[in-house]
Symmetry: C2
Subunit: 157 residues, 2 copies
DNA sequence: TTTAATAATGGTAACCATTTTCATTAAGCC
DNA sequence: GGCTTAATGAAAATGGTTACCATTATTAAA
């Protein structure tokens, strides 16, 4: 297999193998879907997209794979408060832009924003350091999200 | 019973009536529990605490009441990522301290912190204004939360 | 290549917090 | 007290996610 630089079989190949996981058809299909569709897909969304091409990849595998991916830090598991988790690929090899989310509570539209990101990230980093020390927490993650009504939905009613 | 000035029947009486809601035993019991127990209670937690005194207040009513309370802004509905919602009284008449949360992903312990709150709130306000204008969102809410391992849990294993 | 060890899979049933349904009860107003 | 209608509770339904388990695929060893 090629050297470590992510050419030829997807940059994730190495990551999987390095952690003792096997790179299977199903997993590859899921990663493929995630990387080709910019968005926040639910497990079922992914299932729907994978199924036509690979009809024998079950929903269970989708969930299991997303779990693995998220524990490897390759995928972010997002919660927009509508009762189903969404998943998005973490920064790839070339580092997709870090962003936060703005969620419409009516139509569930999600806007990725990067405005203020620098300030937010800086404050988060600072806060993490402070809180971690004060409360003896080993902070691994954070959520910052805004909820409201989008253009269209705030006009209704 | 006394006149309208919030003496003797709880400060929430007026708020309820003013919005066309009826003040019932169940609702009062729930508010009572929420205001007396500092914490983040799940619907079932509340049910458990209400039940001994008012055995005929059902879980359904708990859920429905929490919904009303949260739509009135009297209660915050929180999501710590463990599959069940938590509720806490919003600032009462004397204004409890605004705080954010630090959640242990292992034992689900939650720390309310107020450190950095001022900076956070200021940044949030700014961001809300900026994002609202740019994306035409009417922002009504935000979440800022940290996840990690608490003192005890990071020591295990 | 054959084989053995074990990781991964898919279908189904289970899980469990939350909602819905609907007939009954109780609040608030006269 | 009587009336209108919101509120209620019990049970059933819902729906995303997980557990179970027998089967299959992958890898390393022989």
């Amino acid at each position: 297999m090629s050297r470590g630089n992510c050419q030829g079989q997807g940059w994730w190949h190495g990551k999987f193998r390095g952690c003792g996981y096997r790179l299977t058809i199903g997993r590859e299909a899921i990663l493929d879907i995630l990387s080709r569709s910019e968005g926040h897909l639910s497990a079922e969304d992914i299932y729907m997209k994978v199924h036509p091409k690979y009809p024998n990849v079950g929903l269970t595998t989708i969930y299991r794979t997303l779990d693995v991916l998220s524990s490897l830090g390759m995928v972010y598991k997002l919660d927009f408060g509508d009762g189903r988790a969404r998943y998005e690929l973490a920064e790839g090899p070339k580092g997709a832009h870090h962003h936060h989310h703005l969620v419409c509570t009516d139509c569930n539209k999600v806007v990725d924003y990067t405005d203020f990101i620098d300030e937010e990230v800086e404050l988060l980093r600072e806060t993490e350091k402070g809180l971690g020390a004060k409360y003896n927490f080993k902070i691994t993650n954070h959520v910052i999200q805004f909820y409201g009504l989008c253009d269209k939905c705030s006009g209704k009613k």
